[in-house]
Assembly symmetry: C2
């Protein structure tokens, strides 16, 4: 899986729909597709932006609304905790499910709030964990904008104490001086799909005395992440992309156990050691639960909880193998199309679960693709982005999507 | 409505169930009860903690899950904005519905995140709006704990720059010196149900040169609030109490237009002027939209959106009149019960929409009441709390609830 020489099937073999259908026939994850409600006539290659609807979610929402909220009302906060349904413990139960996917222990994960708010929590905690003399926050100049905005807002609130330094990710090493407090990176670039070696970069940052903060927005649920194996410090991730938790689903925060004693900047009652004691002084709950802030959004959180059960029987190595095979196939089928400039690394180790191309008329090309039922997305200025979610994208989908891309590119050429 | 001499029907009249049923028969809000799904055999007096389920919400959730998420997928972010359904504008549409209830203009309200997170946004903004030489945050020592925790966490993050001063609310005036930056108060005390005069306290704070931050958790949807009429500066409120938005529903933030230029501490991409421009520098959106941070939790936010439609035809003066009549009746029916010490003001102007009593065995008394289907709640150390939500609580409910309270108190006496 981590070889650096790409192994790609030949174009000839892949061009045959038969060959791809044969891959579907022996796909160990093929049965997972039936666990999603996908619209007819659509090939959905945008699960990296919004994961598809797991079939089990509508019934769970109905139950949470009518039974837990409507019938049990306020009693649902504490009732039925043996049955694993009490709302007070819901954030912890969801955290445990996320933990398995990212190589964390359950008490190192807190679920709730948006990714942006979690970035704020994580960065303030990471800065508190760093040596106080260090004043640089090192980040990727091409990081997802909200990561940069959150750092800008937090730094201004702290009186401009830090120097936020966005640099090209390739030059990171040269900037890792003794002034760096936190290295804040997104593991998979949202535009190019390039994947960083989380363990290697973490080692590098630690060797330079810095604390790491990883944004796993395009990692969690796309492939296995091993935060503790890598010795990572802090991480955040998104609930609504590869975790399929629904639009704007609650996000997660990882705080390695050794950092649990840092001050909690967003200190709310649901992260208090005893919320209903109604004490005047904040006293943090045990573990990462202290990073839960206000009352959890139970409807959205229950959808995520239910969606995560889709991963219950999924072997993450098989998930990664299929992701690479799907993206390999797509890249092979579009190789040599002159208008398309591949920006996703061919090297498996450096690839996430998406394939992106530059195209001079990318916005219009994507509009036409969506019209044909092939849903990927456009990212400014000229990127066609296609996400491959191994739980519900088939090899045959790859074939038909590539055909549609070729057709649209040909049309625009004429 | 604001007379200071309480006008309460006599005990004799109220003791008759007939009399109360007659009030139900001419209640202009009686038809609203059918818009909620209430469990059989329950009198629900805890809508001040978790509002009941509006009947329209399950269908809306089903539609959002199956159609907007499942079928339209990523297209729902922008599709159908003429139909008022695009997710990008959903926070703004909900904000407009909240604005009407609190005397704000739509562009002064931002909806999303928990109340605690909104307190953090509001307090950081209020401190930025205050004169920089002022270093005291004045608050009620009996404020809801999360309000205190959030202030503690924010102040620590800002290097302990401020002095958080919790004082008895009755002594507020004596502490309103030239050092006070922000007066942060909850309008209705969550334990006693005592209501502060928002306009008078705001005037007092302004006269002392301070900025006001109001927590409307037990105000919004319980009675009409007129923030702009009072010249209020900042406010937050809860979506899941009197607004019936569901467990942990998104909360709201009010920022008076004159303060819109303050720096945004929690600056995320959904509050950016052009989120999909993917610019590296944060540039705030127009109005209070800048206080939206990350991707909105669409499922929870849609439930709140739908729940707010219940208020569409509600006259807020009639709502307040019924709230006072319900609480008057309850207080009258329990007058003279020796174990019950009323802690809610009899004065209409000083009363929210709840009635609270101290009782030496309050926890056990509430347990027995809930067992009998009368759901209020216990608040430490010895408070029995009963919330009266005029949209779905009837006068007959008041009678039966008071009977149950008398029975339980009698049992515990024996």
């Amino acid at each position: 899986m981590t070889q650096t020489t790409p192994m790609r099937p030949t174009l000839d073999a892949l061009q045959a729909l038969d060959a791809l259908q044969a891959l579907d026939a022996r796909d160990p994850l093929a049965h997972k597709r039936a666990e999603f409600l996908l619209p007819q006539g659509v090939i959905y290659l945008d699960g990296n932006s919004l994961g598809a609807l797991p079939a089990r979610v509508p019934a769970r929402l109905e139950c949470v609304a009518r039974e837990e909220w409507g019938d049990a009302l306020i009693r649902s906060w504490t009732a039925n905790n043996e049955g694993g349904r009490d709302w007070m413990a819901l954030p912890d139960r969801v955290a445990a499910k996320v933990a398995r996917l990212i190589g964390a222990r359950p008490h190192e994960v807190a679920v709730g709030d948006s990714t942006s708010v979690n970035l704020f929590k994580a960065l303030s905690a990471a800065l508190a964990a760093a040596a106080p003399t260090r004043r640089v926050i090192l980040t990727d100049a091409d990081n997802f904008p909200t990561d940069l905005y959150v750092a800008q807002g937090l730094n201004a609130l702290m009186g401009g104490r830090y120097d936020l330094k966005p640099v090209p990710v390739a030059d990171l090493a040269t900037h890792l001086g003794p002034d760096v407090a936190v290295v804040m990176l997104t593991q998979v670039d949202y535009r190019t799909g390039e994947r960083l070696d989380l363990a290697a970069v973490t080692r590098q940052a630690h060797a330079a005395g810095a604390v790491t903060l990883w944004d796993l927005a395009h990692s969690a649920g796309a492939f296995e992440v091993d935060l503790n194996g890598a010795g990572a410090d802090f991480a955040v991730g998104c609930g609504y992309k590869y975790l399929n938790g629904g639009p704007g689903a609650p996000a997660f925060l990882f705080v390695a156990e050794r950092h649990h004693a840092v001050p909690v900047a967003l200190s709310g009652w649901m992260g208090h050691a005893d919320p209903f004691e109604m004490a005047r002084e904040y006293a943090p709950a045990a573990g990462a639960r202290r990073f839960v802030v206000g009352t959890p959004m139970v409807l959205s959180l229950s959808a995520l909880d239910s969606a995560l059960d889709v991963f219950g029987d999924v072997d993450l190595a098989a998930l990664r193998a299929k992701s690479l095979a799907l993206t390999d196939a797509f890249m092979a089928l579009l190789e040599g199309v002159p208008e398309l400039t591949l920006v996703t690394p061919a090297d498996h180790a450096r690839r996430g679960s998406q394939v992106s191309y530059r195209h001079p008329q990318a916005r219009e090309a994507m509009r036409r693709l969506v019209e044909r039922g092939v849903i990927g997305d456009f990212r400014t200025p000229d990127i066609l982005r296609f996400g491959f979610t191994p739980l519900y994208v088939s090899y045959a989908d790859v074939y038909h999507a590539a055909q549609a891309v070729q057709d649209v590119v040909r049309e625009l050429r004429g």
